[in-house]
């Protein structure tokens, strides 16, 4: 496969992620009938965070923030450069686990609660992704993304798996109704509460990369025609934001229950249908 496009996407991913986050905030504001911040707002936020006076709680806590970012970068790089899909899932889960390990390292009870909930996020999101990977294998005969990317319009043969992905996107992007680990009105950011200034910046950046990774996951189902891919990404994200604006937060237990009772069976049904040759 052509190497230039994925490599340039990887280098530009902070830029794309920042603009994506800015668009999210703008869209969010428009949905609430507000004007909203400029689209480049996330970059202002990031640069401001870098200029604040560093307040160090302990070294371990900060190292984990950077480890979280690095693991997320590796996940994204593996994804874009066409590595193994299971490796992407593994590093994505690991980066969330590192964040929660850092959060366990401080005494703030909000941070501890947030860390536990972050682990529940892993429990909710990762199994669905693994099931999707199994489903991909059935359809394409490989876990290698470089070969999966050669496929054409996977949505045709795995629509239910895509629905399952959309159902876990709120949990993955920390949007309502499944923003249990961040929960700004409740535990004030959860695992990220004790990070400040320059030490919060890597976490802020990792969030953008997570959005780029999610966009990539959506795009994976709609390859072939770039226009259709872009439309699919924007429609899905708009839907996630609309859900974010119109629902209240559910409890952490509900999150795990929903994903396990709805998303995983959806992928399973898709798997069976693929196996018997209906789809």
């Amino acid at each position: 496969m052509d190497f230039l496009l994925p490599a340039s996407l990887l280098v530009l991913s902070p830029l794309i992620g920042g603009l994506l986050e800015g668009t999210f905030r703008k869209l969010n504001a428009r949905m609430q009938n507000r004007v909203g911040p400029p689209i480049v707002q996330p970059f202002y936020d990031l640069f401001k965070l870098l200029q604040k006076r560093p307040i160090l709680i302990n070294n371990y806590h900060v190292i984990m923030a950077y480890a979280h970012l690095v693991a997320m970068v590796i996940a994204l790089a593996t994804f874009l450069l066409g590595g193994d899909f299971l490796l992407v899932i593994f590093f994505h889960g690991m980066s969330l686990a590192l964040l929660s390990m850092g959060a366990y390292g401080v005494r703030s009870s909000y941070s501890q609660v947030g860390a536990t909930r972050e682990l529940l996020h892993i429990l909710a999101v990762e199994p669905v992704l693994i099931m999707i990977a199994a489903n991909l294998y059935l359809n394409t005969g490989t876990f290698l993304l470089s070969e999966i990317f050669n496929s054409n319009f996977l949505f045709k043969s795995m629509p239910l798996a895509f629905l399952a992905l959309v159902a876990v996107l709120p949990a993955k992007l920390k949007k309502s109704p499944f923003d249990v680990s961040e929960a700004h009105q409740e535990i004030i950011g959860g695992p990220e509460i004790e990070y400040s200034g320059p030490f919060y910046a890597p976490i802020y950046l990792a969030k953008w990369l997570e959005e780029v990774l999610s966009a990539g996951l959506i795009a994976m189902f709609f390859l072939g025609n770039p226009v259709i891919t872009l439309i699919a990404i924007s429609v899905t994200f708009t839907f996630v934001l609309a859900v974010d604006n119109s629902t209240a937060r559910l409890s952490y237990w509900d999150m795990v229950k929903y994903t396990w009772e709805i998303s995983i069976p959806l992928v399973l049904v898709n798997l069976v249908l693929n196996y018997v040759g209906v789809l």
């Binding site: 911040p37 707002q41 970059f43 202002y44 936020d45 401001k48 870098l50 200034g197």
Partner: protein
């Protein structure tokens, strides 16, 4: 203006604390976030987290019980930061002035940069006050650390102050 200086002004994250006022000003502060006034267009968000805040909005006359907490919150906000006293009672005590349980205003306890008068202060005035505060914020850097009078009196030597700050950070 460089991108760094610009970003300092463009992204003020707010921490809001009521030190015992009647809650009138707090309702007005929340009104500022609604679609009608929409301060997010200036990049302001209500973080509720002192460690990630830049602008510290304080309402109320500072009751004796709130004093310690106010100082603690103030020290947790990393520099550069600005403090905006919102409402008459935060400026000088207002209707609560000279009562036995109040400190008569925020500036008796922590350094204040902008005063927003009014009982209750109107949303326009609050936005105006924060925009004024941003002008001050653009001139501040992370090096100039201001300490509350209270800390200066109790810990005259610089070394002791450093220890207090260390203590505060651990919380």
């Amino acid at each position: 203006m460089s991108i760094f200086a610009l970003s300092r002004v463009k992204s003020p994250w707010i921490l809001h604390y009521d030190t015992g006022g009647c809650n009138g000003c707090d309702i007005e502060i929340l009104a500022v976030l609604t679609p009608r006034y929409d301060v997010e267009r200036f990049g302001m968000i209500n973080r509720g987290n002192p460690k990630q805040a830049d602008v510290f909005l304080v309402t109320g006359p500072v009751t004796k019980r709130c004093r310690e907490r106010l100082i603690n919150l103030y020290l947790q906000v990393p520099e550069p930061k600005v403090v905006v006293a919102v409402g008459s009672c935060a400026c000088d005590g207002g209707v609560f002035r000279n009562m036995y349980n109040v400190e008569n205003g925020v500036d008796k306890v922590i350094p204040v940069d902008v005063y927003v008068p009014g009982c209750a202060a109107r949303p326009h005035q609050i936005i105006d006050g924060v925009v004024k505060a941003l002008e001050i914020l653009s001139k501040k850097t992370k090096e100039n650390i201001e300490l509350p009078e209270y800390i200066k009196e109790r810990f005259p030597s610089l070394n002791d102050r450093r220890k207090v700050l260390e203590e505060m950070r651990k919380r």
